[in-house]
Every structure is written in structure tokens, then in C-alpha cells.
């Protein structure tokens, strides 16, 4: 597992250098029957951080997330939330712990027979310690303002769109003023625009309430946009851990495989990703390369990607095998970071 320097990364973002871990995981093990679902995981999540857990379907992301609030038990190692060992808590202790940890679900998991207001009020009613009706009402309205749904308070949840339902899910998760928000694929059921919308909301509550967020997702856009740090899981094992930006700009082999699957392979050449740091204009580079090498290549894909607070670009070009060597040495000369896409290594003899 790769652990980047944590304090460095956090202080670079303006957090204080000494932070108490919100969650500490050590040598965590979990199995179902004979099958190992989480293997020897160790990491910690800092206060105020947005921590991503990514991986393919079945990697164990949801299981790991549920170990944090005791919805799942674990078989070995330790999970400590704010210093308390989750596995050692009594029923009452677990309920207290969960009170401090909100959770947001992929399919929203709202109560279908209750209206918006009642869904958000429900955690408050569960924990109601003689609060007056007015207190609950004021709190619910405050929450609905945060998620911008105050005008829908009497609507039945079935009548709302996916994005609106997720906003209610978030409002409900925030109702008890938690310290930690756990999100299990909170945007996976939503279209891209709505996803952005929800991500903005999550970012907003992270800053406003100094909330620690743990975000499980298989969408790389979500990790990139949202997460300070990320952990890549594969078959229950932690493959890499570090600052999102570092990991995506210089991806270890494992992450490359996770990140590159969305580009289609074009036969008869090599797909090469050319990265463009801030300083370089991508238009000039590509035309310049085509002109000075006197060859043509096709552009397979490209993107301006946002890494939290700045934008970087890349293009994926498909180069015929016989030109690969010249193209690569040109890029190296020009100090352009480049890489051959992971799935394509066998397409040509790869130049060293």
C-alpha cells in the first residue's frame, strides 16, 4: 500500500498540521463464510477530510463503510471512530455512535409513506428527548433550506426526482448534527448534471459544518471532484492510498487499470495519453507535433479534468505502431508527461 505524506497534504490545503484521526483502521479483516471480503486494511481518516473509497463492484467498499458505523461486524483488526473501538461497543453505545455518523444511500432509502418533512424529521423523532414540536420543526426547516427543498416539504417522496430524493437523504443524514457523513454510492443512480449538483452540496456541507466525509464510489469523476484522499480497493485489499491528485496524475499500475477502462481500444495502433500541465496549451502541442514529425494520428479521446481546484487536460491519441517510437521521443523531448494506456500494452511492441 502507498501512503503519501498525510500531514503535508492536509497542511497544503489549509488544515492544521496536527489533526486527530476521526477513524483509524488497523489490519481490518472480514469474511463471509470462507470468502475473504476485507484483507488487512490499515489507514486513517482525518477530521474534516473527504476520503474516497473506490474500486470495482464487489471489491468490498460497502462492507468497509458499514464497518465504520457497526452495520456490519468485522472478524479481525480494529476500527476506531473518534477513539472508540466499534466492535467493542454495546447496543446502546452503537446507537450513540451512529447518532454521530450520518449515512447516505445509493437508492435513497426514504420512507415511501411519509412526506419530505417527516422523512427528515424521523431521526429527530427517534432521538426525541422531550424536544418541543417547534424545535423539531425549526430544525427540519433549517435542513430543508440547506438542501434547497423547503418548498417541497409537504410533497410525498415518490413524487420527487432522483436528485431531490438524494437531497432529502442528505438532509436526513445531517439531521442529528453528525461529525461524519458516510456516502455509499450517493450519486450512482443520478444523471451527470444531478451528480454534479449533489457533489457541490456535499462539498458545501464539508466546508460549512467541518464534516468528515467518507465517500464510496465507482465513478472516477466523483473521486476527482470531491475527495482529498482516496483508497483503491480490489478484492478486499487496499491497492493504493494517497492524495487523489497525486494518484491520478501519476497513477500506479492498479489505478491505471481502474481509470482507463472507459477508453475504447482502436486496433492497429497504440493509445497514448498525453498529459498537459497547466503551462502548456494543448492545441499548439498537438499541431506542432503533427507538423514537425510530419505524420498524422487520430485523437481517441480527451478531457479537461478538474482536480478539485484546478483544471488539467489530457488527450488520448492513437498512433500507428511504426510511428510510436518517434512520437514518444518527441514527447519526452518536449517534457510532456505521457503514458501508454494500460489495456493496450500488447497492441505493439512497446518502446522502452
Amino acid at each position: 500500500m502507498r501512503e503519501m505524506d498525510l500531514h503535508l497534504s492536509l497542511s497544503a490545503r489549509g488544515y492544521s498540521d496536527i489533526v486527530q484521526p476521526m477513524i483509524t483502521v488497523r489490519n481490518l479483516e472480514k469474511h463471509y463464510g470462507g470468502k475473504s471480503v476485507l484483507r488487512d486494511l490499515s489507514f486513517s481518516v482525518q477530521e474534516g477530510e473527504i476520503f474516497g473509497i473506490v474500486g470495482r463492484s464487489g471489491a468490498g467498499k460497502s462492507t468497509l463503510l458499514r464497518c465504520f458505523n457497526g452495520l456490519t461486524t468485522y472478524d479481525g483488526g480494529s476500527v476506531q471512530v473518534r477513539g472508540r473501538e466499534v466492535g467493542a461497543l454495546s447496543d446502546a453505545g452503537l446507537r450513540e455512535l451512529r447518532r454521530d455518523m450520518g449515512m447516505v444511500f445509493q437508492d435513497f432509502s426514504l420512507m415511501s409513506r411519509k412526506n419530505v418533512f417527516e422523512n427528515v424529521a424521523f431521526p429527530l423523532r427517534i432521538w426525541d428527548a422531550g424536544q418541543s414540536r417547534g424545535t423539531i420543526e425549526a430544525r427540519v426547516m433549517e435542513l430543508l433550506e440547506i438542501v434547497d427543498l423547503a418548498d417541497k416539504r409537504l410533497e410525498r417522496v415518490q413524487n420527487l426526482s432522483g436528485g431531490q430524493k438524494q437531497r432529502i437523504g442528505i438532509a436526513r443524514a445531517l439531521a442529528l448534527n453528525p461529525k461524519i457523513l458516510l456516502c455509499d454510492e450517493a450519486t450512482s443512480a443520478l444523471d451527470p448534471d444531478t451528480t454534479l449538483n449533489i457533489l457541490e452540496l456535499l462539498q458545501d456541507v464539508n466546508v460549512r459544518f467541518k464534516l468528515t466525509l467518507i465517500v464510496v464510489t465507482h465513478q472516477r469523476e466523483v473521486v476527482k471532484r470531491l475527495c482529498h484522499r482516496m483508497l483503491l480497493l480490489d478484492k478486499g485489499a487496499g491497492l493504493c492510498l494517497g492524495r487523489t491528485e497525486d494518484l491520478f496524475l501519476d497513477p500506479p499500475e492498479d489505478l491505471r487499470r481502474f481509470a482507463d477502462t472507459e477508453y475504447t481500444f482502436i486496433p492497429g495502433g497504440l493509445n497514448i495519453r498525453v498529459m498537459f500541465p497547466r503551462a502548456i496549451s494543448r492545441q499548439a502541442v498537438i499541431t506542432d507535433m503533427a507538423r514537425s514529425l510530419d505524420l498524422s494520428f487520430s485523437i481517441v479521446g480527451g478531457k479537461l479534468e478538474r482536480y478539485r481546484d484546478h483544471v488539467l487536460g489530457f488527450l488520448i491519441i492513437n498512433v500507428a505502431c511504426e510511428h510510436v517510437e518517434r512520437v514518444c521521443s518527441y514527447m519526452t523531448d518536449k517534457n510532456l508527461p505521457w503514458e501508454v494506456l494500460a489495456d493496450d500494452h500488447d497492441a505493439c511492441q512497446r518502446p522502452e
Binding site: 446507537r95 451512529r98 447518532r99 455518523m101 444511500f105 432509502s109 409513506r113 427517534i126 436526513r172
Partner: protein, 211 residues
């Protein structure tokens, strides 16, 4: 004939109403236990569940006539008498509790597990989850279960004539069938049909309103 019909209807409604009331309550309680201890329940206890499961299946496999006769000593103990409409309520309730338990268990199992998990995730206790989440979510379905229960008990209550329970079923059989009074038989059956319709549409109406 009208007076016969009216008093038979009264007996039927009396038997059905009270046996539905008691067996709905008992069946609901049993269903909660099944849900709680079941394999995916909040407190899985495989031994307890297996025992309850077996008991429910055993009771449900008895033909009602046999059960009613086998229960006569118990009926006398509970109701004081072994014959009559009031006495018939005892075997009707005993027979219907496991039936209702299965219906309600099914309705509670239909509740979205995600909603249950969400309630757990913000610290709801087991009893809050069962009564304030699962039962509330399943309420419309449980209402329909009660309608099915009442209609089933209406059918069973016809057999209660065998221990002097009276009612429309007994009237149709004793007067109509044995004494060849086709008109009485026809009217008794017609009234039964109307009662079934009323129960079902009442249930459907409530279901739509609550959903």
C-alpha cells in the same frame, strides 16, 4: 325467513368480528417474532425461529373441522362452554393466528431493506425499527391482510355450525340443503357474497387511502 336470515347474519358477523380481532392481534405478534428472529431479522435466533416456524406450519396443516373438534376441551376452558357462537370464536382464532402470522410476515418482509438499514444507520432501536419503520411502511399491506383474514374466517365460520355456532353457513346448510329450501340457501349465499364484497372493498379503500 327474514328473521332467520337476520339472526344468522348477526351470528356470523359476531363470530367473524371477534375472531378477526383476536387473530389479527395474535397473528401480528407472532409475525413480529418471526421477523425479529428470522434468518435476516434484526436479532436472528435460528432455534427460536425454527420452533415458531414449525408450530405455525403444524397448526396450518390441520383441517379446520378436525382442529375445532380437537380444541373442544380448550374451548370449554376459555369460553366456559363448548357450543354456540361465542365458543366458536376460540377455534376460529386459534386456526387463524398462524395464517395471519404468515400473511403479516410476508408483508413485513416486503419492506425495503434499505429503509430498515437507513433507520439503523441513524441509531433507531430494534423496537423503533419494527414499529415505526417496518409496520408503518407495511401498514397498507397489513390492512389488506386483515381483509383476507376476515374473509377466510367468514368461510371457516360456516363450519362452526357443527358446534352450534349458527350463522349464515349453518343456515344455508341446515335449512337450505338438508330441508330442500332452495330459497333460503340462495338468500344465505347471496348475503355471504355481499359480506365478502363489503370486507374486500373496505380493505381496498383503506389500502388506497393509506398508501
Amino acid at each position: 325467513m327474514t328473521t332467520m336470515l337476520v339472526s344468522a347474519l348477526n351470528e356470523t358477523l359476531f363470530m367473524v368480528f371477534f375472531s378477526t380481532l383476536f387473530s389479527a392481534a395474535g397473528g401480528f405478534g407472532l409475525a413480529v417474532l418471526l421477523i425479529l428472529t428470522g434468518p435476516h431479522g434484526l436479532r436472528p435466533k435460528s432455534r427460536v425461529y425454527a420452533a415458531l416456524d414449525l408450530a405455525v406450519n403444524l397448526l396450518r396443516s390441520f383441517p379446520f373441522m378436525i382442529l375445532m373438534i380437537a380444541l373442544i376441551p380448550f374451548t370449554r376452558l376459555v369460553a366456559g362452554v363448548a357450543y354456540g357462537s361465542a365458543a366458536a370464536i376460540v377455534p376460529l382464532t386459534v386456526a387463524a393466528i398462524p395464517f395471519m402470522a404468515r400473511l403479516v410476515e410476508g408483508s413485513l418482509l416486503e419492506v425495503d431493506q434499505g429503509v430498515v438499514e437507513a433507520a439503523r444507520s441513524f441509531g433507531a432501536s430494534d423496537s423503533q425499527i419494527i414499529f415505526r419503520v417496518m409496520v408503518m411502511e407495511a401498514l397498507p399491506a397489513i390492512i389488506l391482510n386483515v381483509a383476507v383474514l376476515a374473509i377466510t374466517l367468514l368461510g371457516y365460520s360456516a363450519m362452526a355450525g357443527a358446534i352450534g355456532g349458527g350463522g349464515l353457513g349453518a343456515l344455508a346448510y341446515n335449512e337450505g340443503y338438508i330441508r330442500f329450501r332452495a330459497d333460503i340457501m340462495f338468500c344465505a349465499v347471496a348475503v355471504l357474497i355481499v359480506v365478502v364484497q363489503c370486507i374486500q372493498s373496505g380493505g381496498n379503500h383503506l389500502y388506497k387511502k393509506l398508501r
